[in-house]
């Protein structure tokens, strides 16, 4: 467990090394990047292996940093952080494998990529609000350059929109945090101290601060109606980046809500709960319906990400242990599934067919031209629909259980969202891979019109599929970490304040 901070340091070091290695050759840069990602993932798995769940956070590093403001370089982890760092390691490794074909300025690509990952690890491990914010913002700039340099459709616009929305969200968060610090006369910036300070503020102030904090984080999580950056940005991004952005970086926002917004001002949650829940449901349903009519394959996946994140936000709003456990599980699950979906659409299909328009793809019998991609996408699609056996099912089930306890109407609406997800996923599978041409064509075996699936693609896909199956069949592996962590002293206030 004590090795966890090294995931941050190794990632940044790896970023620099990649940059240097990239000057020699692209292959060297790839090797360095993969090695770094695997090493960091290995550290997280090792920490997981030795982890005993409890309701206390495990302190990793606590050093005074800026004593004038009471800021500490404070890293800590609990079951929730552990779940998410394991996800990061997996998504990073898979993302690098699926970026194996980047040939131009490879060193720079992986430098930005690893810098982004380092920032993400930092966010998940921070226990000081200032440090949390620092890592949160560090993640913004690499995102811009990854999309602007190596992206596709509308990359400059998509990159700028994504960066500005993220930054605007973090500006709101900064305002909220400073407000608590100043008005509450906090002694320092650790989450605990800020929570104490916020508790002393008047109720109207707490309500407004919560709005700032939650909205700021929720923008990055793709909450309706601030979600418009997500489909554009994710479609514009190169495959490896989309996997990471939709899979992990959106979870930073949700994690921020969970770790910062909710525990610091729980009174605010009680006030805003209906609004957040309805916005989350609107996101689930609206994004799902939009995905149903998209013509660009990648946009379907982009909107499906917004829809799935709606479940996460709904779980956050419900503020009971069941729903919250489901939320964290859904964060992990969707991280893996989004990675798979983008990988297939972007890397396996688009790189070979050079089109993402469903109207064109449907004329190609893709399930015979790329059987591996078809199988992977079908499985990923099933997972995305919440099919039992895959990780989405226990996550959505738990959230529905939690929703039912708070409001039957919300639970029904969420169930409707599951149905819509099934509809658009099936449509995508059907139209893209099993188009009209399929029925008429004779002959056995796949026709080799396209480059074969490379070993990095296979490895990445298998890793992600294995993860979603494992968690789907044994969700208790993760839930046993998550559930005790939700009973920590900081989260207790949320339950008392938030449940109906």
């Amino acid at each position: 467990m004590n090795l966890l901070p090294y995931t941050i340091y190794l990632s940044f070091a790896g970023a620099l090394l990649s940059l240097v290695a990239g000057r020699r050759s692209a292959a060297a840069a790839r090797g360095v990047a993969l090695l770094t990602a695997v090493a960091c993932w290995g550290i997280t798995l090792y920490a997981a292996y030795g982890f005993t769940p409890s309701n206390q956070m495990i302190q990793l590093v606590d050093v005074t940093w800026i004593s004038q403001l009471g800021i500490h370089y404070h890293l800590a982890a609990d079951g929730i952080s552990l779940t998410l760092v394991v996800l990061t390691g997996l998504a990073a490794t898979a993302g690098i494998l699926f970026s194996w074909n980047i040939a131009e300025r490879t060193g720079e690509f992986f430098a930005f990529y690893l810098a982004l990952i380092g920032g993400v690890y930092g966010v998940f491990l921070s226990a000081d609000a200032f440090l949390f914010f620092v890592f949160y913002e560090i993640a913004i700039v690499p995102k811009y350059f990854l999309i602007a340099n190596w992206g596709s459709t509308n990359r400059l616009y998509g990159a700028m929109k994504l960066a500005l929305y993220s930054f605007a969200g973090s500006a709101l968060v900064l305002a909220g945090l400073l407000w608590i610090y100043a008005a509450g006369h906090a002694s320092g910036f650790s989450l605990w101290e800020l929570a104490q300070a916020a508790a002393g503020l008047s109720h109207p102030q707490q309500v407004v601060i919560f709005a700032f904090l939650f909205t700021g984080f929720a923008v990055l999580a793709g909450m309706f109606p601030f979600h418009t950056w997500a489909p554009t940005g994710h479609v514009a991004a190169p495959t490896g980046a989309s996997m990471l952005l939709a899979g992990v970086v959106m979870k930073l926002g949700a994690y921020g809500c969970l770790r910062v917004a909710l525990p610091l001002v729980p009174a605010g949650l009680e006030f805003w709960q209906p609004v957040i829940a309805w916005l989350a449901l609107a996101g689930i349903l609206y994004a799902g319906l939009v995905a149903l009519v998209q013509d660009d394959f990648k946009f379907v996946i982009g909107y499906s990400s917004v829809s799935h994140m709606g479940f996460v936000l709904l779980g956050l709003a419900l503020a009971n242990p069941a729903a919250m456990a489901g939320t964290v599980l859904q964060m992990f699950s969707h991280g893996v599934i989004a990675g798979l979906l983008f990988a297939v659409v972007g890397r396996m299909v688009y790189e070979r067919t050079h089109t993402r328009q469903l109207a064109e793809l449907t004329r190609l019998p893709l399930h015979r031209l790329m059987p591996f991609a078809a199988v992977v996408f079908v499985l990923a699609g099933l997972a995305s629909m919440g099919m039992p056996g895959f990780s989405g099912f226990p996550a959505e089930l738990t959230i529905l259980v939690g929703a039912w306890q708070v409001s039957k109407v919300w639970a029904l609406a969420a169930a409707l969202g599951v149905l819509i997800a099934a509809a658009f996923t099936l449509r995508a599978i059907q139209v893209a891979f099993f188009g009209q041409a399929g029925a008429a064509a004779p002959a056995a075996g796949p026709v080799h019109l396209y480059a074969p699936i490379t070993w990095p693609e296979r490895t990445g896909a298998i890793l992600l599929l294995a993860a979603t199956l494992l968690v789907g069949l044994r969700p208790d592996l993760l839930l046993n970490w998550i559930i005790p962590s939700l009973q920590s002293p900081m989260m207790q206030a949320v339950w008392i304040g938030g449940t109906r």
């Binding site: 800026i66 620092v134 560090i138 811009y144 350059f145 400073l178 407000w179 008005a183």
Partner: protein, 489 residues
């Protein structure tokens, strides 16, 4: 009360060193310059100038915080020492920038005037009396006017210098008028005595007029809106090292001077901005200046196509934040403001350094001239990225820490309810807007493909390279360990 001349001499050692250095530079060039080529003359001048600055730096640190000197004429407190050290450091950076910039026709004179300007700056850092303040300010300003117009081949340079001079001259007139009114009312020249006197008289219409005058002058000097009109042209037209100096050291010295004048000196007339009621003091005015600068600077920068003008408007926006720091100094002291000024200075000087090198290699006026920089020079790109991101306020760079401290301090003044709080929220919101134009600059450097006529690799002179890397390292280092500076106050 310390009227010892010896102490005064010790206190003024940095200034004396600088003057001596300037004279030495001029003398050397006069005697030996004829035999050398222009580049060699420039190298010699820069070297001697750097030695002088280093010596002055050593002196100011060695002299340290003596406290009041010569009957409170000068005040060598930690702020003064820090300002002097900062200004001299920034001047060293400027010399490094000059090493890579276009060759001036009279290098020795150029360096000498930089040194004179620095004399003014260091004096401004320590001034504690109206007359000394005025003299220091004028010394610095006159030197800067000349530096702005130093490029005699360029019309823009002449225009820049003229505008700067006219606006600056008018500002000086306002300042002098304000000072004389204050002297007239209080009968004192010394800041602490003025404070005592004002505590008894309170606010009168005459004093209100004096305040307005002083603040108008301050606004001019600091390029705060709506007195900023000289800044874009000056930044665009002046030779690059001059622009660097104007943007960095003069801001640092100017803010320190006015901070001393306003808080200890005119503190009694401050009023308050903690709540939204009618305050009737200069804090309200400063708040208005800050708000105007933030809005104008950020919004105007969005529309710029010329890189230097963009930096100018961004400077105006940063001035807004610095003015917020002045407001916050009531409760938080000078620490956050100084940190912000110092790191902003380094970042801007560094950015101008990059521009200077590019100027010699194909020109750099428009933002699009940066296109493809990462392929032409990874060093310049990396340094530029660090500087621009620091200006944008991205962690873990110093710009972010500076903004954070000032915002935290400003909110502590009175919570979110009053003007200080609203200003802070405005500043935070506008920083999101600012990211847009900073990213546009970086987009050109890191994303866009180079124009065919400007695609060759750039060779950066060693001195400039060392300077830029050192500046970038300072930004990163201070960003990671801000306590190094904050702990001084």
């Amino acid at each position: 009360m310390n009227y010892g001349y010896l102490t005064l001499a010790r206190a003024l050692l940095p200034e004396m060193t600088l003057v001596a250095g300037a004279l030495l530079v001029l003398a050397y060039d006069l005697i030996r310059g004829r035999r050398h080529t222009l580049p060699e003359r420039r190298a010699a001048a820069l070297l001697l100038g750097a030695v002088a600055l280093a010596a002055a730096l050593y002196d100011s640190l060695a002299v340290g915080a003596l406290g009041p000197v010569y009957g409170n004429t000068l005040m060598l407190d930690p702020l003064a020492v820090a300002t002097r050290a900062g200004v001299l450091g920034l001047a060293l950076l400027t010399l490094g920038v000059a090493a890579g910039a276009r060759l001036p026709r009279h290098p020795a004179e150029y360096v000498a005037i930089i040194l004179f300007a620095n004399t003014g700056f260091t004096l401004m850092g320590a001034a504690h009396q109206l007359l000394v303040a005025f003299v220091a300010l004028e010394l610095a300003s006159l030197s800067l006017y000349i530096l702005a117009g130093f490029n005699k081949d360029s019309r823009e340079s002449a225009e820049a210098a003229l505008k700067y001079f006219l606006f600056g001259g008018m500002a000086t007139a306002f300042l002098l008028f304000g000072f004389s009114l204050i002297y007239g009312v209080t009968g004192e020249l010394d800041f602490s005595r003025i404070a005592l006197a004002l505590a008894q008289t309170g606010m009168t219409p005459l004093l209100a007029l004096a305040l307005v005058m002083v603040l108008v002058a301050f606004g001019f000097k600091a390029a705060a809106a709506p007195f900023h009109l000289w800044a874009p042209d000056a930044y665009q037209g002046a030779p690059t090292p001059s622009a660097a100096l104007i943007a960095s050291a003069s801001k640092l010295a100017g803010f320190t001077l006015f901070l001393r004048l306003l808080w200890p000196g005119l503190g009694a007339l401050a009023g308050q901005v903690a709540t939204a009621g009618n305050t009737g003091g200069w804090l309200t005015l400063v708040a208005l200046l800050a708000g105007a600068s933030l809005l104008l600077g950020n919004l105007a920068a969005l529309a710029q196509a010329n890189l230097r003008r963009l930096l100018a408007y961004s400077a105006i926006a940063h001035t807004g934040v610095m003015l917020l720091g002045v407001i916050a100094a009531e409760t938080a002291g000078a620490g956050p403001l100084f940190y912000y000024l110092a790191t902003y200075g380094v970042a801007t000087a560094g950015a101008f350094g990059v521009i200077a090198v590019l100027e010699v290699n194909g020109g750099c006026q428009r933002i699009t001239d940066l296109a493809g920089l990462d392929r032409r020079s990874p060093l310049l790109t990396g340094c530029l990225a660090v500087f621009i991101l620091s200006l944008a306020g991205i962690p873990p760079l110093a710009g972010f820490a500076g903004k954070f401290f000032i915002f935290a301090a400003a909110l502590q003044v009175g919570g979110v309810a009053g003007p200080a709080g609203w200003l802070t929220l405005l500043a935070i919101a506008l920083s999101a807007v600012a990211l847009y134009y900073y990213l546009i600059v970086l987009k050109q450097a890191l994303v866009a493909a180079p124009a065919p006529e400007r695609a060759g690799r750039i060779r950066v002179p060693t001195a400039t390279a060392i300077t830029l890397v050192a500046a970038a390292a300072i930004i990163v280092g201070l960003g990671l360990f801000p306590s190094l500076i904050l702990g001084l106050f």
